[in-house]
Each structure stands twice: as C-alpha cells, then as structure tokens.
C-alpha cells in the first residue's frame, strides 16, 4: 500500500466537489501545511468545515488523515481505500443539531503493515438524511450502516437490508439524535 497515493487520490476526490475553496491548500504535498489549522474544525460557532483533506497529528488525534467529502463521493472514497488494501473499522454518525446537519464518519485502517488510519466524513441535511451505501465495497459495512440507521435514522440508499439491528424491530425513535427525549 502506498500512503501517498491514497492521500493524493482522496485529496483530488475531495477537491472535485468544491468549486473554489483554496483554504485547504489542494496542491500542497503531504507535509506540515495546516496541521493544527485542523483544531477548530469541529467547533460549532465557527463556520462548518469545508470539504477537503487534512493531515492531522497522529499523536493528538489518533488518525493520520482526515478527509471530508461530498455525500455522493463516499462510495468512491471507499473504493480508493479498498483499492489500497485497507479495512473498514467502523461507521458512525454525529448529530450537529445547531447546524441542522448529520455527520457520517467512516474509520479506515491498514492491517497489513505500518499503521495508517484514515477517517472519511461527510455531512447531510438533518431533514433529508440520505446517503449511498458502501456495503457493496465493504460487506462489513452492512452491520455498521444498520447500526447507524438505528441510532440516527440515516437512510443508506441501496442497502440490502436496512432494518433495526440493535434496537427492537418495532421501535420508532433514534436515540442518538440530540432531540431524543427518552421513551
């Protein structure tokens, strides 16, 4: 697996989706640029993060590469990562209720040698939580996506069996949404 190839491909992919967003330096080679510029990327008051690739400090964040892509790019991101021989660790969501958005987070890692962790994230509107499934690329995504559907009500389009996995089959709530008030 070539780390730099993966980084370049993901960077090109993320750059495609945005018309002009020069802040995240699309040409810089994989090097310190903007390393801790990553710090405020999650805070709610500043503007939400733009799509693009950040190389974050592994010792601080626990991942090497953090890339945000558009919704329709998650499958291609998964294909790039699959092509590099990496594995899917987990899929989860985060409810950013003040932004009226849901974030879907994919964790990938490499088990065949030197540690390399990539996180791919995307944001979808809270009232239309639709996102394509990656279970055709990684069959292991099947359960992770079902779990994310349980907890957040995110609709993974094209999923072979989008049913409740951990929650009871007759339940009508999604407990990790921030406006969930108990049942």
């Amino acid at each position: 697996m070539n780390k730099l190839n993966v980084i370049d491909e993901l960077k090109a992919l993320a750059a495609e989706g945005m018309p002009a967003a020069p802040e995240v330096a699309p040409v810089a080679p994989p090097a310190p640029e903007g390393e801790e510029g990553a710090a405020p990327k999650k805070a709610a008051p500043p503007a939400p993060r733009k799509n693009g690739l950040l190389e974050v400090v592994y010792a601080v964040k626990g991942v090497h590469v953090d890339v945000q892509v558009a919704v329709d790019q998650v499958v291609r991101a998964a294909q790039i990562i699959d092509g590099a021989g990496m594995t899917l660790e987990a899929i989860t969501g985060v409810d950013w209720i003040t932004d009226k958005e849901l974030e879907v987070v994919y964790d990938y890692s490499f088990t065949g040698g030197e540690c390399f962790r990539v996180v791919v994230r995307t944001r979808i509107p809270r009232d239309q939580p639709n996102i394509p499934t990656i279970s055709k690329v990684f069959p292991g995504a099947n359960w992770h996506e079902r779990e994310t559907f349980d907890f957040f009500g995110i609709n993974f389009e094209g999923h072979p069996q989008l049913e409740y996995l951990l929650l009871p089959e007759d339940c009508d709530f999604h407990p990790l949404l921030k406006d969930f008030k108990g049942c």
Binding site: A43, K61, A90, D95, V105, T111, G140
Partner: protein, 372 residues
C-alpha cells in the same frame, strides 16, 4: 456441501439457534435456513442485551463513564478500561507515571490470560469435551483472586483512573503473579497433551470454518481471527501504546485460516502474555501510581479523537467527539467482536451445523460487547 445433499429434496426449513442456547455464550440468536444438516443461510440477530452505552457516554462526565467500560466485554474488562483512560489522557494531555503504566500492563495481560482460559474451556465444551473447562476455571480462579486483591472486583473491573491507577500493588501481588505464572507454565503442556493433540479436537477443527485474510479485511475482523488467517497485525506492535514498545514479545500468527489456527493463536498468546508479565514485573520501577496534576473536571479541547487498543478479541477503538464540555458530545465504541461476527453469515454458508458451531466458538464471542 455435496450437490446431492441439496438437490435430492428441496425441503428447507428454518431453525432458530438461540437466543437462549449454550453454544451462543449469551443471548445471541441465529436464524438458520437449513437443508438437512447443511446451512443455506445463517443470519445472526443481535440486540437482546443492547443497553445503549454510547448514549450513556453523552450524558455523564468523562470520569462517570469509567464503570461502563467494565460492562462491555466482561471477560477482558481491563483492556477496555485501558483504551478509555488512554483516550481521555490523550485528549486532556495527562501524563501517567511509569509505575502506573507497568501496573496497567501487568493487570491487563493477566486479564487477557483469564479471558483466553475461559474461552478455551467454553470452546472445548461447545465441541463436547467437558473436562478441560474445569481445569481452565481452576487456573482462571487464581487470576481472579489476584486481580480482586488489587482492583476490588472479580469481573467488572474499574481500576484505572485518568493519570494512573486507583491504588498501588503490593509486593505479594507481584510475587503471587510470578508464582501463578510458574504454575500455569507447568500446566500448559498438560493442556496441549489433553486437548490440543487430541485427535477428536483436531478432526473437529482442522480445515473447518476457513476465513481468508481477504474476508477479514472486507469485514474488518481483527485480533486472533485475523492472526489465524496469516496476517501479522496486533495493535500492541503496529500502533504501540503504554509500555509495550519496551517489552519483548512475539505475535503468534498461523496461516491455515481454519478454526484450529484460531485456537492455536490464542493458546500461544497465553504464553506470550506470561512473557510480557514477567518482563514487566522485572522492570517495574518504584514511584507514584497517580499523576500529580489531574484536573478534577476534565474539559478536553473541542475536536474528535480516536484511540485503539488490543483487547483479547481484537482491536477496540473509541471515537470521542468533544465540544469542550465535561461530557462527551459523541462516544463511539468500536467493538472487535461486532466486526468479527459480521463475517459469520458469509463464512458459514454450506457448512454442517456442527461445524458452524465450531466456527462460532472459534470467533470467541462476548455478546454484551457486540450489543453494547
């Protein structure tokens, strides 16, 4: 599966394995579509003891969440304790004294041995051998006694704190641990003679339940399942944490990809755990077991953080999102058996039911950790 077995009569039937079945080791249900003795499709049904630990992480402080870590995988709870405290220490920038790191490694590895011993007994029990369980529990009991003396609990440990450990270990714990290792070493040949070289066990496991390295990769399987498929991946080596880089140990890898390979990986891991503990006890320095300055109220910088440790069943990862408050904004627990079990549907296709149970046992399932 021979084609005759399928084609002679097309009569298929559904069979429920569980939710209450001794072979599932907890409340797991497997919906089986059977053709005679052969499995056409096996679909695990989860959620019978789902407790929503991830939501609990969002409505209590970082420290209040510690006891939850003992209740995910109750057989190797200390690995989960370790993963969580290391994550929070990373987020809050807390330094841990060296003695505490050594204590953490010694106790975690002891816990790993006890987990593997229980798996060993229960697995052989699944295959119809009752006696080894009693021997394994005898040894495991000694570990529980040792750990009870330092942690105060026998199963659901909550021993590590942000910045160190709850209390120091005494010399008689260290000498007792060494004595236990001496005893277990002398008993390992007995286990191998009694079980590993048993021809019935070999025939039940060899070539049964093949899981290729590629399948592991596609499903995200880790731990002994992955190492039994010939992949040399152990978080302790590939992504070292705590004091593991200072300790000399090997990662057992078997290339056969069958249930026997997974069995062998775990048995060899017991030996490696003993090596790790012995070295750690030889090297353990004097000093404090808690960092001096640990903030009472932990408020990490906003952002998201990931940390992984090697639990007894594979890599356990936590993704925590902080918004700068004293509680997590989001706490994702990535449990290893969840991914390991997800390949079961594909791996068990066309197997005999009895073989599929051997395969399930070789995955080493702990249901509370899958359901969370």
């Amino acid at each position: 599966m021979s084609s005759q077995a399928l084609s002679q009569n097309k009569e298929r039937f559904e069979l429920n394995l569980g939710p209450q079945h001794p072979a599932t080791h907890g409340v797991l249900r497997v919906k089986l579509l059977m053709d005679g003795e052969y499995i056409v499709n096996a679909e695990p049904v989860l959620g019978y003891i789902h407790r929503m630990h991830e939501l609990m992480g969002e409505n209590r402080t970082w420290a209040q969440y510690l006891p939850n870590m003992g209740r995910l995988d109750y057989l190797s709870a200390l690995s989960y304790n370790l993963g969580y405290v290391e994550l929070v220490e990373k987020m809050a920038g807390i330094e841990v004294p060296e003695r505490a790191e050594y204590i953490r490694v010694i106790t975690t590895e002891l816990n790993r041995i006890s987990s593997h011993l229980l798996w060993f007994g229960a697995f052989v029990l699944d295959l119809g051998g009752f006696t080894p369980l009693l021997y394994a529990f005898d040894d495991r009991e000694q570990i529980l006694d040792l750990l009870e003396a330092v942690t105060g609990a026998r199963l659901t440990y909550c021993y590590f704190r942000f910045g160190g450990c709850y209390n120091d270990v005494e010399d008689n714990f260290l000498s007792g641990t060494l004595a236990f290792i001496k005893r277990l070493r002398s008993r390992m040949p007995m286990y191998h003679n009694l079980v590993t070289k048993n021809v019935i066990l070999m025939q039940r496991l060899e070539g049964v339940g093949p899981i290729s390295a590629e399948m592991c990769r596609k499903y995200g399987a880790t731990g002994p399942v992955l190492r039994g498929s010939g992949v040399n991946y152990d978080v302790r080596k590939n992504e070292p944490y705590s004091i593991y880089p200072e300790i000399d140990f090997d990662v057992p890898v078997y290339h056969e990809c069958d249930s026997m390979a997974r069995y062998n990986v775990r048995m060899d891991e017991i030996d490696q755990c003993m090596r790790i503990i012995e070295q750690a006890i030889a090297k353990i320095p004097e000093g404090p077991v808690m960092a001096e300055k640990v903030p009472k109220m932990i408020k990490p910088e906003p952002g998201d953080y990931y940390h992984t440790v090697e639990a007894a069943r594979g890599s356990f990862g936590i993704r925590a999102v902080s918004d700068g408050k004293n509680q997590a904004y989001r706490m994702k627990l990535r449990s290893p058996t969840f991914s390991n079990l997800s390949l079961y549907q594909e791996a068990s296709k066309g197997m005999l039911l009895a073989d599929a149970l051997a395969l399930m046992g070789s995955l080493d399932l702990v249901i509370p950790e899958i359901d969370r």
